[in-house]
Amino acid sequence: MLEALLVMALGAVLLGAALGYAAVRFRVEGDPLVEKIDAILPQTQCGQCGFPGCKPYAQAIAKGEAEINQCPPGGEEGIHKLADLLGREFKPLSAEHGIEKPKSVAIIDEQACIGCTLCIQACPVDAIVGAAKQMHTVVAAQCTGCELCLAPCPVDCIRMEPIQETVDSWKWKYPVIPLRQAA
């Protein structure tokens, strides 16, 4: 019994000391994971995920506090990428947080706009230009389609329009209608 204690005590002291030392010596700061997750998120900044923006959501995922299927603009594709990155299982988009919609941009009805600037303040990416009491316009190329400007508009003059396909943005479609999957 005594030998047992002695032998184990010897081991314990050695290992404990080594580990304690290593833990300090090799400490790393920062978390590159958040950046990687953020790079996958679509940066729509819409808050549908339940966080105030893409970055906070990324932080929450990295900490394991959020599921990977809460970002509707990212869609299935985004979830696949997150699952790949994090080694988690893919799961379908959580319906609680919304559904995947075609990409849209905001359009301001220029007749109705009263120039209140509320939409400017709501837009997370400064995609609306104009000045007070002036008609406002959305810079379509910068609009992420987050819909955050819709609610604040007092005269409801902003609507979302799906982005039209042109010869430039056209893509070849998936070649065949896939055969029906087994249930």
Binding site: A4, A12, V13, L15, G16, A17, G20, V24
Partner: protein, 232 residues
């Protein structure tokens, strides 16, 4: 330049933390090792007893308990590695006596030529030169094919294959007939798995022959003695 200072604080911190973690680790280790060692001490007799019981159970399978009256465990000798028995290691041999007279020998043996390697056996040979019984203690024969040599796996529960050796000696089955039928001998085998049967049969024949030859010397050795091959 803050670099060197930084390293310094780190190192002294590391030392402190090392000591602390080592201390905690030590504490935990002592407590749990004590717990374990205590259990070990407490169960040791029972563990030893069950190991003994296991041995006795095996022996009991080949040698009926009522057929002897001495303490088998006390009346054992050790065997050196013996080719005839297929043994590469030291082993034990137990001697059963009845009213002081030799009754039987119980020994371990092996057949090296099983289908998938070594087949371990335990054999009891009566003082009259008959094989009382034998059992397979370990084997790697193909499950479902060659493993019928182990009565636990034998599908024929009423008369397992291995029981056909019981109470046979060279007087009833001559040495040259101590083979499987396929080789022109006396013993049955399972078609499709002759090799396993052949290995066991041949090994038992060798064991029997060896014991017949050495039986007097084996019984004569003092308890805890050591048998040495008598080479001319």
């Amino acid at each position: 330049m803050s670099e060197p200072v930084d390293v310094d604080t780190r190192d002294s911190g590391a030392l402190r933390i090392s000591v602390r973690t080592a201390g905690i680790m030590l504490a935990f280790t002592l407590v749990f090792t004590a717990l374990m060692a205590g259990t070990y001490k407490a169960t040791a007799p029972m563990v030893a007893a069950s190991a003994l019981a296991e041995k006795l159970r095996l022996i009991g399978e080949v040698l009926p308990a009522g057929s002897y009256d001495n303490n088998l465990m006390a009346d054992a000798i050790s065997l050196p590695p013996t080719k005839a028995l297929g043994l590469d290691d030291e082993s034990r041999l137990w001697r059963a006596r009845r009213n002081g007279a030799p009754a039987a020998l119980v020994l371990e043996a092996a057949a090296a030529d099983g289908y998938s390697g070594r087949i371990g056996l335990i054999v009891a040979v009566g003082a009259d030169g008959r094989l009382i019984a034998l059992r397979v203690t370990s084997h790697k024969e193909t499950p479902g094919l060659g493993d019928y040599i182990d009565p636990k796996k034998d599908r024929n529960k009423s008369k397992p294959w291995i029981t056909q050796f019981a109470n046979l000696g060279f007087d009833s089955v001559p040495r040259e007939k101590w083979r499987v039928k396929k080789d022109g001998g006396h013993f049955d085998q399972m078609t499709g798995a002759t090799i396993s049967a052949r290995a066991v049969t041949n090994a038992s024949g060798r064991v029997l022959a060896w014991t017949m030859e050495n039986r007097e010397r084996l019984f004569a050795l003092p308890a805890d003695g050591r048998y040495e091959e008598s080479k001319p």
